[in-house]
Point group: C2
Chain length 233, copies 2
DNA sequence: AGTTTACTGCGCACGCTGTTCGCAGTACGG
DNA sequence: CCGTACTGCGAACAGCGTGCGCAGTAAACT
């Protein structure tokens, strides 16, 4: 039986007893676990326990773990509200980008979710809407709007993923190479096979700065926005 | 005991019997399974069976499943070679972007891997090197090189993720909304809460084109490259 | 050459996972 | 007030990652 996506199913059935929990309650519990102990700690049993309910009761609310993830994503996306538009597209897009990045940094598991299908919950749609709104101006055709929005969101997500990966690896890749396994760094540099990579490892200052990720993000974001500017009138 | 990363450990020990398999053999087997049956099918047992060996023998080669993933990533990255430089940074960067995207589309599981730490295998480093090489010119400071390379790679990965997600969801999000659950689409459009999103769903042509992803990628890539151009002399 | 040493292959076992099934209890529609 | 469509959930199943310990083997040292 092909059940419709969760966003189409009514939260409360017409007949039968009142469900003991709401979807948002479930999502909140799962997000709480993921935030505190990582995505791996989010199991059906664990979330059920967190709610004080039986494990298999969860399946009354959710079609399987994938749908639980869907709920989590949309809940996390509701953690911040899209910024109010100023009318200046560049300012608005930058605001969206920073706000999205903030959400992803606050919920590190978010960018690591399998992502096997688009999540179309209300909060996710709201962000999509805000992004389109910032990009959209009369005269710009819809395809260009799609492309620009995709460019930005895609960039933010990719950056957040890379950032979190490096953050959690304990430090910068350069640091990782030089400190935690200096021999490997020496090998890489000494091999002469990676001259440009070597130059980065030696010369770059950003990797050593405390706020490196913030600065790198801001800098890269400027690049992207400048690129987008060229695609508009 | 804190074992060093796999790239630092010798493949063959000084003493003891000759290992029955090579790392690359193992990586190839795992990649084969993932390509054919998806990431979920890649289990230690399954890969071991594929190699005709005992399950726990794998742990002689690999510290755990995470390291198996590391091997898979680097193997996949070796599936294509970085394009030969032309000297024109924009052409070279575009070539890197397209080649990277091709790899990710060929191995859909690649962008879905947990990515809890950077992979530093030889093939991955080669791609990093190629990217830096394309961006790097005398006079450009190392931080700017890092930022530009990060922008590009990050964008490519993010785009590939989104693309694969939508591809595997069966169709475009717009299609998904309108076909597979028309009621939801009507609800979304009819609610009036998402005006710009609605306009995209109605007006955009790209979502209906067969080569939509190729065109969207090319278009977005141009935006990014244009943005990068501004950061150079 | 013989002994020591450090490895390899791997069966067993443990605790955990997602999910199916079936049954008892409940609240609403007619 | 009954039938019906739901809810909660315990039991069970197949599969997972992985630690442990033991037998076998090849290189190093004496």
């Amino acid at each position: 039986m092909d059940r419709p996506p969760i966003w189409l199913r009514p939260e409360r059935a017409a007949r039968g007893p009142r469900p003991a929990h709401s979807r948002d309650e479930i999502a909140a519990a799962a997000v709480r676990v993921a935030d505190a102990e990582g995505l791996a700690a989010v199991s059906m049993r664990r979330v059920a326990t967190e709610l004080g309910t039986g494990t298999t009761s969860l399946y009354r609310y959710v079609d399987g773990k994938d749908e639980l993830f869907d709920l989590m994503v949309d809940r996390a996306m509701g953690d911040g509200r899209p910024p109010v538009p100023t009318g200046n597209w560049r300012v608005d897009l930058a605001a969206v980008a920073h706000a999205q990045r903030a959400i992803m940094l606050r919920h590190p598991w978010l960018v690591r979710l399998p992502a096997t299908r688009p999540v179309l919950g209300p909060n996710t749609l709201a962000w999509l809407e805000a992004t389109y709104a910032a990009v959209d101006v009369p005269g710009l055709d819809a395809d260009e709007v799609l492309a620009q929005a995709a460019t930005l969101l895609t960039f933010v997500r990719g950056h957040a993923l890379e950032e979190l990966t490096e953050r959690e690896a304990g430090s910068t890749m350069a640091d990782w190479l030089t400190k935690q396994s200096q021999r490997y760094a020496e090998q890489v540099i000494g091999s002469g096979v990676y001259p440009h990579l070597s130059r980065m490892m030696i010369e770059a200052e950003t990797p050593h700065a405390a706020d490196r990720f913030d600065r790198l993000f801001a800098r890269s974001l400027e690049h992207v926005l400048t690129g987008l500017a060229a695609g508009r009138g």
